[in-house]
Amino acid sequence: MVSKSSKRAIKVIISNYNNLEELQIFFDKVYQTNYPKVIRLCMGYVNGDAAKAKDLAQEVFIKAWENLGSFRKESGVSTWIYRITVNTCLLQLRNQKIKKSSNERVLEHITEEVEENKTTYEVQLKSMYACINKLSKENKSIILLELEGLPQKNIAEITGYSHESVRVRIHRIKNELTKCVKL
């Protein structure tokens, strides 16, 4: 659904472009450039489930289109789209019923596979996803953005925490993750 405020916002941004076609071209460019980043981030939120990640990515771009009016060039498209992605993933908490115990089961299963010397790339990645899913939603967002190579200043801007707080958290989460992941 497009709310009245979204319609107004789209009208505002259309006024910066000559017509709806130019707006569509701009959005296509945003989509093409950011889709890989968005889907990788979404994968981290849904335990590496590609189908769920694709649905989430679609939701992210729907919200991006609806909120085009809120985009300010000074903040950069990436930061803006990452903010929408993190919030959309937080919102999908209500639909996701992945219990902590299921993450434990995934990790136990991975341990068995490691013991059987099945140290494939997929097993390692699965283990990383399961460990990321054990983190709180906010720490998950922070570490996923860090893994995506975003500067800490931008992570602070997206999450709303101070740069210092983000730096300390990242240090702590890195330790937690390296202890948890089985390679």
């Binding site: 497009v2 093409q32 906010e138 999450t159 992941v181």
Partner: protein, 190 residues
Amino acid sequence: MRKIMITFENLQAEWNNQPEFNIPEEGGKIITKKVSFLKRKQRITNTVLGITAIMLIGFFFYIAAYRLDTVIYGLFLMIGSLGIRVGIEVLSTRKLERLNIVSNTKIFKEQLVAYYNKRIKTHYIVTPLVVLAYCIGFVMLLPSFKANMSLGFYAYIVASSIVLLIVLGLFVAKQIKNEIDMLKELKTQQ
């Protein structure tokens, strides 16, 4: 079992080595089409809800023109409580859609917590009153059902209503529990 010393650099390398996802062709256009589709769907839902409400109100006044007794009050309570419940859900869904998704996560989380706090208050105060009004309305209709229906059909209506009430009660309870869990999870995240 092999033990390997893991560093964050290993994990970063694993992350960077993930296979690339194919970018859907014309993905941007698909999204804008989907938005138009959702908008149309929303318009249809609003129309259907509107027509249903008008029909129910029309039906109520049609009946009311002929009789002014407990049947009318019973019907009024049942239709009114259903209408209030549907209205609350529609408004609540719209409010959720209007949360500022482009704000930073900290602010967005505060908005979500406020939203769920309000939902839970609604569940604890408004929902029991609505259910009570619905039940009172139904009980008020029972003498009329008894007088105008066969005993078998009357028993069927009473029994099926009780089952329906229990099923709906469980459904609402599950929804409330999910929302309380969601709120707890949001509040416990550091």
